[in-house]
């Protein structure tokens, strides 16, 4: 029993971390692009901004379970199977990337426009502003966003257990629902709660420690 939980916790963490990394690989550039091309952005481009915004909104409005089923073909094409943790990662990334993009957008929008203006006055180009002003100045907010995104992905990954995704979600489903093993189900829930707490606290602490505004 203990070994099973340990193993499935590992699977959940694998899905969460891998999906977070990939979701940021897509969501971070998209989020930055949303700010840069936005109304008061440094590279204002309304058609691109609208296209990105609509794309993000469409993906965000599809419930995760439906998205997972809809992406069956795509997942099979990409990883060769539609069950198991690696297959779940595909859907998790597609679901989380637009969420991450909005988180990143909100974090960067928070920066004082005057600082960006100052960088422009010094002759910084847009890439320099993104890499040397936007990301470093928004770092604390980005780290808080990272913790929130990771927790959301963890929750989605548990949901993926319903359709053979593996991990703690599958344990809760198989033992709790199919075998009426309430004890195992509650232990699984407890493990998930602890994981969420750890990620949240860690994220907040790191964000606080590295923020030089205080």
């Amino acid at each position: 029993m203990f070994n099973l939980l340990l193993e499935e916790t590992g699977t959940t963490l694998y899905m969460t971390f891998a999906s977070t990394i990939l979701a940021y690989a897509i969501g971070l550039p998209v989020g930055i692009a949303l700010v840069v091309t936005g109304k008061s952005g440094i590279g204002k481009n309304t058609p691109v901004n609208i296209a990105l915004g609509v794309g993000v909104n469409i993906l965000r409005s599809i419930p995760f379970l439906i998205l997972m089923l809809a992406l069956k073909g795509f997942t099979e094409f990409l990883v060769g199977t539609i069950i198991g943790p690696t297959a779940t990662i595909v859907s998790l990334v597609v679901a989380a990337a637009p969420f991450v993009a909005r988180m990143v957008e909100a974090s960067i929008t928070e920066i004082d426009g005057g600082v960006i203006e100052a960088a422009q006055a010094m002759g910084a180009n847009n890439w320099q502003i993104i890499l040397k002003v936007m990301i470093p100045e928004a770092k604390p907010a980005l780290l808080v966003g990272l913790a929130v995104s990771m927790i959301t992905i963890l929750g989605y990954s548990a949901m993926a257990g319903l359709i053979g995704g593996g991990g703690l979600g599958s344990v809760a489903l198989n033992y709790g629902l199919y075998r009426f093993d309430a004890k195992t189900m509650w232990i699984t829930i407890a493990v998930i709660v602890v994981l969420v707490q750890i990620i949240q606290e860690l994220g907040m602490q790191i964000a606080k420690r590295t923020d030089n505004r205080i």
Partner: protein
């Protein structure tokens, strides 16, 4: 000679409520090494004007000529290169909050591609210039307003600019700190020969350090010239409003004959009023007096009420004329403001 020249610069903002003409037809030339003030009340367009100089705002019409080249015709990368020669400091300092003072000063050098050890060396020199050597490792949140502006000034000097634009740089500071920052700007102008352009709504800022001044009102330059000239004889309505802040006090003056005497540097040190009274044996009534020091010269004005007797009044006026004192008769109450 001229480092910056604006030719027929106009700026129109498209807003929900229609077009707003922030700048209408600005012609301005700034001499190299000058401390040039641009003063106006809020909403006069001065912030837009200063942003048109380094093209943070693109003028809708007109030319911005820097060292003989029109900035508005440049490509992005050319403009970015020129911007290293036109630094800017701001009312809200605009320091990078996640960088130390030293790292903030290194920032424009990083952008310009200066290798790090060289940038750090230069930043340390500049911290010395602004008298903040001991705060190199402090973050902006740990510095006072005056210290933040000093860091911003050091940062602005990092790339050895030719021009320093100051957008209400002292408006967020208390009077004592304002004075110290203005003195620093003056020193920088003298030591490094950097042309300083100061945007402000405060006359005492202009008075304390500027050589030349332009008065902006409703998107046009109402008047420009040497600071001492405009203080002595403001011509435009906008200039009078700014130079004679106590102007509406004239409304309290009573009596028929009022004259406004203007002192230039020479006569301010002479007891001219006392001599006049002794010489003419006629009394005057001092209604309003205000003298101030501008660039080391005493400049001031005084409003006198003359006796009603035409002969006595004539004698007094004759005395002033003989001494070469500038004055004007104010026909009606409040006529000069």
């Amino acid at each position: 000679m001229e480092i910056i020249k604006l030719e027929r610069v106009g700026k129109v903002f498209e807003t929900k409520g229609g077009k707003v003409h922030a700048l209408k037809d600005i012609n301005l030339s700034v001499k190299e090494g000058d401390i040039f003030g641009i003063i106006g009340l809020s909403g006069a367009g001065k912030s837009t004007l200063v942003r048109c100089i380094n093209l943070l705002e693109r003028p809708t019409t007109g030319k911005v000529i820097f060292k003989g080249k029109d900035l508005t015709q440049m490509r992005e990368w050319e403009l970015n290169r020129e911007r290293r020669d036109i630094s800017m400091i701001f009312q809200q300092f605009n320091l990078l909050m996640q960088r130390t003072a030293l790292e903030n000063i290194c920032f424009p050098l990083e952008i310009a591609g200066v290798p790090k050890p060289k940038a750090v060396k230069r930043a340390k020199e500049l911290l010395k210039v602004v008298d903040l050597e001991d705060r190199a490792m402090s973050y902006p949140s740990q510095l006072s307003g005056g210290q933040k502006q000093r860091v911003a000034i050091a940062r602005a000097l990092a790339t050895n600019p030719k021009v320093l634009l100051c957008d209400e740089a002292t408006s967020a500071l208390d009077p004592k700190t304002t004075k110290a920052i203005l003195q620093l700007l003056k020193d920088i102008n003298e030591k490094f020969g950097i042309t300083v352009i100061i945007i402000t709504h405060e006359m005492n800022v202009i008075q304390q350090i500027c050589h030349s001044v332009a008065i902006i009102d409703e998107g046009i330059i109402a008047e420009q010239g040497a600071v001492s000239e405009i203080f002595v004889s403001p011509k435009s309505e906008a200039a009078k409003r700014l130079v004679l802040p106590g102007g509406n006090r004239t409304e309290k003056f009573s009596g028929k004959r009022l004259i406004r005497i203007v002192f230039n540097g020479r006569s301010a040190y002479e007891p001219i009023i006392a001599n006049m009274i002794l010489a003419c044996q006629a009394p005057v009534n001092i209604m309003y007096a205000n003298t101030q020091s501008i660039e080391g010269e005493s400049v001031g004005q005084m409003v006198l009420q003359l006796p009603l007797d035409d002969v006595e009044a004539g004698k007094l006026i004759g005395f002033l004329e003989s001494k070469g004192v500038m004055f004007e008769e104010i026909e009606e109450v409040g006529a000069d403001v």
